[in-house]
Symmetry: C2
Subunit: 431 residues, 2 copies
């Protein structure tokens, strides 16, 4: 299969674990074979397992590239939008990308999937059926529809012409009221899970670009519109493959706690009276719950949420108001955590993965001091290269170019002192 | 009045805000004239207001001396036990101390008060009545009794012979069951709030020591027993002064939240559905509560508590199990917070008050690096004195003697690297 995984979103619905730089697909809280894994790691691993020679391209925005490498390693194909527009431009760009990168022909089929559903292996078996149907070519676009388990108001519905395994689509319905949802289900409606397949040529023939570079360089000309609106709704000949297994949208606390293998993650103590309560504690301190019922507690360096499961679905407006800049971020080279923030000063703990390094850079308005906590590394400071290890201190005055490379896993405390400590005060240089 | 304020306890009932080094009387969460104040600050200030020329001595153990100076300043009389024994030795020691320090005579009256009741000015008016009764000398010991507002099981009861404003005590009763408590109240019983007065000579005549130094140097000979057991229960002639105003023992979360002026302290957001919920957030991050009812949330660098108010009374056994070493402590010179703890390394933020300094000291097994975040100071490093300010970095190898004095309020990040990072690895030197 040729799969474009859409990795978007920057939602606050799972605040404080999700934020502007950590979308929900990067939260490591699903039980995997070797510890906790993220939705991205889970889905990517599941595809690789079901179709080890398949082609996967992750379509995303610049802000997520580092985190994707952190989660999946360096050997992963990523198609990065030059700017955020909407799903139509993103899918078009990724289709050019996968065609050139994986040498696809006009007749080859591409499947587009969101990165964040909670599914089991039967889902990927159905993806293969979707792929076969698209290859047969009876329909211009083929969608996957999920058989509803309840009259949910959270999803769009697809109404097929009959109830066969593969059918033609009669119509699409927006997210409905409860009553409407029940009506759609009586008509044989299925949930639209955002999975669809088409032949490369089908989409590219709608577009004027001759190559990936061409569309990339003209990306700002593409309409800011959704693929649904621009392509699907205008297409008459759409097929549907039905799926009746596990499919969960775990975009809310209530849904996410539903798929947690255990009630707690991290340093958490629940007393005997606590019932149906889920706690995720990413902080380096104990968290004690007593007498709670139907509560979710989530603590990270960004903040602390304590909510009834019922109310947690309304988190978005609150999280948007209170959320500060992210205190923790995963990067391609490792991660950083802000451990203290003061007036014109900031203290950060940096963890570098072995053989990874920061970019060679300088700051105009702040001095920095590195103290190596553990590991061995190599510093490049204004052209001079030297080894550092545990206990070493490096002073980096403003305007000095600097980087550090981890020869083995490296931990550094960085104290920043200066005016306007902002991410934008950073000039990248060639080593 | 001559008042001995007993500042003891190291309870975990208010975990995570109270811990081994921060007893409940040091938690700053009562609304004062200029921001939040601690129970200690509140009671000390109340006494000073009601009796500005009175003598106050705080009887405490070594571990609290720094915190007391931090809360009340340097100009406060503290009687420090050489070791922790019980209330009988502590009160005996403090009586010698206040007699010598304040030039009291045998006939002068001393009042002993716990440091942590939540009271208003009428309480101190009654202390004056207690003082007058003790001066009159009709009784050998005079206690204050609080008129019960409910048949509480949490307090001992005092049964007086009649219901006059001042009476003779007939008997004492241990903390009773609900039924017993109701019976005592019918008999005219009052709560024993631990306040009592006696003449200096009354107590000192029971003891063989000739001076404060004498009792201090022989402190380990004193019986580890309570004042109640050793003195009060053996005394026949005890008087009682009754008090019918506000008196609250705020030693549990439920009681403490009862006297909070507002429902939240710190960076806290409550949604509209949250009811009768109190939140104290000492962390430097937002805390969001949604849909909660009758809940207490407390977050500090030591940990996070989320509990129903009902269950919070059973916190002690849990807190004792999970509590780690204190992450935050107030000292006479300022305060420190552990902001990161790793394997054989620790990062600390130190705040020094103006004109205060650390003791001149060295470590055998760890190196340290200071980076000054703000303020101006003077470092003494192995005999060499030099000025430091914002942005300066000082490397302190193991065995190097060092101190820093704040010329103005000073903030320093200290990175400790070494084996066995423990408080005991500290040698104090003369400057």
């Amino acid at each position: 299969m040729n799969i474009i995984l859409l990795s978007g979103g920057s939602g606050k619905r799972l605040w404080p674990l999700s934020n502007d730089v950590r979308s929900k697909q990067f939260i490591r809280m699903l039980k995997g074979d070797s510890g906790y894994e993220s939705m991205l790691q889970r889905v990517y691993g599941q595809i690789k397992k079901e179709d080890k020679d398949g082609n996967i391209v992750i379509a995303t925005s610049k802000t997520q590239v580092s985190a994707i490498h952190n989660h999946l390693g360096d050997d992963v194909a990523i198609c990065t939008e030059p700017e955020r527009r909407n799903t139509y431009p993103a899918i078009a760009l990724a289709t050019y990308y996968i065609k050139e990168k994986k040498n696809l022909k006009e007749d080859d089929v591409v499947i587009v999937c969101p990165v964040d559903p909670y599914v089991e292996s039967d889902y990927f078996q159905r993806l293969k059926a979707l792929d076969r149907t698209a290859i047969e070519g009876k329909y211009n676009i083929t969608l996957m529809g999920v058989e509803p388990t309840e009259a949910s108001e959270k999803f769009g519905y697809i109404i097929p012409v009959d109830n066969k395994e593969v059918s033609k689509v009669a119509s699409f319905k927006e997210k409905p009221s409860k009553e409407k949802a029940e009506e759609y289900i009586k008509q044989g409606g299925l949930w639209n899970c955002g999975v669809f397949a088409f032949k490369v040529g089908y989409l590219l023939n709608k577009l004027p670009y001759v190559s990936f570079d061409d569309i990339y360089n003209n990306y700002d000309n593409l309409k800011k519109t959704s693929f649904d609106y621009e392509v699907v709704e205008k297409e008459e000949n759409i097929g549907l493959v039905r799926f009746r297994g596990t499919w969960k949208d775990i975009g809310t606390w209530n849904a996410l706690t539903d798929v947690m293998a255990e009630n707690t993650i991290g340093n958490v103590t629940l007393d005997e009276k606590t019932e149906n309560t889920h706690v995720i504690n990413e902080l380096n301190m104990p968290l004690l719950c007593m007498g709670l019922k139907d509560i979710v507690v989530a603590a990270s360096t960004d903040g602390i949420l304590v909510s009834t499961k019922e109310e947690s679905q309304y988190i978005k407006e609150y999280a948007e108001k209170i959320a500060t800049s992210a205190m923790f971020a995963e990067k391609s080279w490792g991660s950083f955590t802000i451990i203290d923030a003061g007036k014109e000063c900031l203290t950060i703990k940096i963890k570098l993965l072995p053989n990874h390094s920061l970019k060679y850079h300088s700051h105009e308005r702040r001095d920095e001091v590195w103290t190596v906590l553990s590991g061995e590394g190599e510093v490049l400071l204004d052209g001079t290269r030297f080894k550092v290890s545990r206990g070493d201190t490096i002073k980096i005055p403003k305007k000095a170019k600097h980087t550090i490379k981890a020869l083995e896993a490296l931990e550094v405390i960085e104290v920043q002192i200066g005016k306007d400590i902002i991410i934008a005060d950073k000039i990248i240089w060639k080593e």
